[in-house]
Structures are given as C-alpha cells and as structure tokens.
C-alpha cells in the first residue's frame, strides 16, 4: 500500500497551482476567442453550475435524481414571471429563485425521501415531468404554455453595471461558478460533507453513527435545487426567454452523465463532465448528424474503461486542511 504523506502534500501544491492556472486561463479566454465560443463557454458554465448542484444530491449523497431540470425550471420561471409581470430586477430574483426552487424541493421531497434507489429515481423523473408538463399547459395563464415567457431583463447592478453581452455573461456565470466551488469545497471538508458521504457509503451505518439521515438527504436536495434555481435565473436572463422544452427529461439525463463521467462527488470531475457534455457537440459539429451517435458511443466506451469517472475524488491528508487555513495551524 502506498502511504506517503509527501506525495499527498506535493499533490496539494500541484493542485493549487493548477487551480490558479485554470482560473487565469478562464479570465483571459474571452480576449483570445470569438464571441461564438464565448457563448459556448457560457453554456459550459451553466452546465457546470447545474452539474455542481446535481453533484450534491447524486455525487455526495448517492441519491438518484433524474428530474433535476425541474428545479432549474422552477428557478427560471420564478425569475421570468416575476421579472416580466412585476418588473423585479433580475439580481434580486437570483436569491428568490434559489429559495423558490429549494422550497419546492423541500415540499416535494419530504414525503418521498425514504424511497430507495430506483424508486426514488422514478419519482424524481415524475417530478421533473410534472413541472415541465405543468409549465407547458400554461396554468392560470402565467407560464405562456409552450411558447414560454419572453422579454426577460438583463441582470443589472443598479444602473451602473448591466450584464448585457456575451463576455459579461461569461464572466458573470464563471464568477458564480467560482464562488459555488469555494462554498462546495468548504462543505466537502466539513461535518456536513462527511455526513453526506457517510450516507452514500452506508445508510444504516451512517444512522447508527449518529447522522440524521433524513435531514441530510433533504438538505442535499434543497441545496442542490437552490443552486439549480440560481442556474435557472442566469439562464433565463441570458436567453431572455424560457420555455418548457429546455427542461426535458433528456437534459436531466445529461446532468446525470456530467456527474458520472466526471466522477461522483469530485468537483474537478464535474467541470470535466460539464465540458464534455457541452463542448463535445460543438467540437463534433462538422460530423453533423453523426455527432450524437459518436457521443453515445463515447459514453459507453468511457464507462467501460473508466467506470469511476475521468477525475474521481481523491481522499487524503490535504483534504482536511480547511481551504483558507494557515499552514502553521495544522497538526496544532
């Protein structure tokens, strides 16, 4: 067995450099590439945010959620409807969308949280479908049916700064993604994250070790849904229109794949998975109708050769150093 603390520490330093490098790359990218690719990278960001949100539920806690797009839809429509009918600024609606999606998750998941594996899976599918179909049917004439809601404002911080072009949106989404990553890494390294992982590993042992399984499962759903709601808000303001077909079951499946292709519970993994899902069709655009075929084949081959994902989460000494802790504090 390899057990060398130095290796881990080296790894940690290497990782920090990598993080900084990637961050710099993301900052300068819009100056190098054209507007089309900036847009592509914006949607990569949206997928990354959604992937991170599903990763809480699926990756950290191991709950099969195949209706995650439903939560995003709640967030997107909250933003769209409140903005277009009452003129509430998008930026205020950002937390509102998160709260409404989270509250929705809490309401619908409470009675079903005890279901196991595949039964939970079909219920989440059903939930996602119920949301999509209901939006499609224009209840009380507020969702605009299959046309959706259009005319959504850009996010603006007062009148000083308005996010109104591709580059600004690019920075906006990746800023949110960046903040989310910091928050989630902190969570991973806390008793909350540990409790989630324990439930994923063995529910009965977790309960018998003193973890309130029901509470932490619900917490994961609510947080995941809240983040998806945030993604919905940004998505709505970028496209200026939301319509039900953006939130299909197929999209939920793609999110599921983002988490598994990257590696369950691994934050870099989610980013890679999101990149694979959002960039792949663009890169293979030349193959036109064959690209999805290739995509499907790639998914199968991926799972045969790397069933644990591209960048599975590694666990070791460096994990426990809180992100912003001074070096001297460790080992006390």
């Amino acid at each position: 067995m390899k057990l060398n603390k130095n290796v881990n520490q080296k790894n940690s330093i290497f990782k920090n450099w990598l993080v900084i490098l990637v961050a710099i790359l993301f900052i300068i990218l819009p100056f190098i590439i054209n507007a089309y690719w900036v847009d592509v990278l914006f949607f990569f960001g949206v997928y990354a945010l959604l992937g991170l949100s599903l990763n809480i539920v699926l990756g950290e806690v191991g709950l099969f959620d195949l209706g995650h797009m439903g939560f995003m839809a709640i967030g997107a429509y909250t933003t769209a409807i409140l903005n277009t009918t009452f003129g509430i600024p998008i930026i205020i609606l950002l937390p509102v969308s998160a709260i409404s999606a989270g509250a929705f998750a809490w309401l619908v998941c409470s009675p079903i949280i005890h279901l196991r594996g595949d039964y939970l899976c079909i219920v989440t599918i059903g939930m996602g479908e119920i949301v999509r179909l209901t939006l499609n049917n224009n209840p009380f004439g507020i969702t605009g049916g299959s046309n959706g809601v259009y005319g959504i404002d850009f996010p603006s911080f007062g009148s000083i700064f308005v996010v109104d072009n591709s580059t600004k949106f690019y920075y906006y989404i990746w800023l949110i993604v960046g903040l989310t990553i910091i928050g989630l890494v902190n969570l991973q390294r806390s008793r909350i994250g540990r409790a989630w992982n324990c439930i994923r590993e063995d529910e009965i042992a977790a309960e018998s070790t003193g973890i309130d399984v029901r509470y932490y499962k619900l917490l994961a759903f609510v947080l995941g849904a809240g983040l998806a709601g945030v993604a919905g808000n940004i998505y709505a303001s970028k496209l200026m229109i939301v319509s039900p077909e953006s939130f299909s079951f197929m999209e939920s499946c793609m999110l599921f794949c983002i988490v598994l292709i990257g590696g369950m519970g691994s934050i870099p993994g989610v980013l890679i998975g999101a990149a694979a899902i959002s960039l792949f069709p663009e890169v293979f655009r030349a193959f036109a109708q064959y690209r999805m075929l290739i995509f499907g084949v790639a998914m199968v081959i991926m799972m045969i050769f790397r069933p644990g994902g591209i960048w599975p989460r590694k666990r070791g000494a460096f994990e426990f150093k809180p992100l912003l802790m001074k070096a001297g504090e460790e080992n006390g």
Partner: protein, 303 residues
Amino acid sequence: MKIILEQLLNGLTIGSFYALIALGYSMVYGVMKLINFAHGDLFALGSYLGFTLLVSGSAYATVTFGIWGGMIAAMLIAAIGIGIAGTLIERIAYRPIYPAGRLPAVVSALGASIVIQNGIMVIWGPRPQAYSSQVVPSVILNIGGIKITLMQIVVLIISFILMGLLFYIIQKTTFGAAIRACALDRDTAALMGINIETIIFFIFALGPALGGMAGVMVGMYYRKISFTMGWNYGLKAFTATILGGIGNIPGAMIGGLLLGILEMLGSVYISTAYKDVFVFIILILVLIFRPTGLLGEKIAEKV
C-alpha cells in the same frame, strides 16, 4: 356510459403497449438489477423495422404475405431483430461494466439509448414517418353502440396472447421458475444447476423482442412514428414497471394496463393536457404509501 367504455378500451390498448414494453424493463431489472434505458429505443427500432417491412422498401412483407400475413411477418421479424439487438447491447455495453457496479451501467445504458436513437435518425431520417391507410385497414366497428377500430381489436388480441404466453413461460414452466429463482438469489440458483448466462441471454433477447413487436403495433395503430418515440414510451413503460413493482412480471402487466387506463380517464375527466401530470401524481402517491409498488416485495435489509 358509452364514452367511458370506449375510453376504457382506448386505455386498455395503450396500456397493453406499455405493458409489453414494461415487461422488458422488469425482466432485465429482476435478474440484473439494471435499468435498461436503451429498452425504449429498442422498441422504437422495432417500430421502424416494421415500417420498412410494411411501408417503405416496397412494402416487402405486405406484398408477399398480404395485409394480415404481412403484419404477422413484420412482427416476427421485428421480434427476432430486436431480440438480437438486445443481446448485442448486453454484450457490448453492459457486460464489461457489471463488476464496476450499478451507476456506470446507467450512463452506459443512456449512451446506448442515444446511439440507437440517433442511429434511427441517421438511417430513416429525422422526420416522422407515416403509415398509409392501405397498409393498415381503418375499419371502425360498432358493437352495441360502442365504437371500436379493427386495429384496436387486433392489438388487444395480439398483446394479450403475448402477455399470456410470457406469463405462462415465467410463472408455469420450470425454465420460468429458474428465471424467478435467479432474480431472488443467483448463487442458490447456480447450485440448482441453472446456467446463469443462459438466463441473462434469454431475458435480454425476450424483453426487447416483446418491445419490438409492440413497436410494430404502435406504428400500425397510430400510423405515425418518430425516432424520439422510444423516450416517451420508454418513460411511460418504466413508470408502469415501478407502479407494478419492479422485477415483478404480473406487476409489469398490471402496471402497464393500469397506466393506460389512468391516462385515458385522466384525459377525459381532468384534461388532455394534464393527463400525464395526473399519471405521475398517482405514481408518486402509490409509492408514498407502497414504497415498492403495487405488487412489489417488501425489501428488508439484514443488519
């Protein structure tokens, strides 16, 4: 009253499609504990195979065997073709992944589903295809004031024969008992001298074969097929499977038929637009009170 009966018949027809597809999900799940997400697309592939035999490609089957004979021939060929496709998918996409656990298999299954769906699109084109009324006779019968199409009767008869046959094989023969034994406890089944690989081959051939036949019938019944139909039907059939209790053969049949009827009643008494919402709400309510479906076994984990 007549409307209710007609709707019940419609619901039963759709329900028997769901049931036939659901059987495939349930059989595979029962033995492998794997949700075969590609199953719905295999059903769609069956539909397109039938379309080629009956309509395009100079309607070979219809020309050779006449309308009814052609239909039977198309269903048999679809059954064999999709059965082979099913076992191929097991070999290529699932078998190498079994040791890695269940979740990677979900991704692989989704991948296989995308491959089939887009394969259909590449071969037959992205636009929906239509059956002409020459291929499928559109006769409406009036029995005691209740309108019923000839096709509906045909679908109901064939579906019930198929379901009856499967029920007989699974519930009444020793081979069927072997399949159920494998689903309960693979190790002990092996101690009986059952070759597990034969069983796996069988379920991955038979389930999709039934789905393929359902595909041909759906094509003829609705006269319109599209390459995305696998997802819609697959989702409904999977819902039916869970409703009945996944892994349970009679459960899948009852779940399918019930789902079809609920859907129709929902569209009559609630609204057509909300019928699917109604169906999913019923499903969720059932699962809240019976966490393993209507006929599902209670799972008690040994501690």
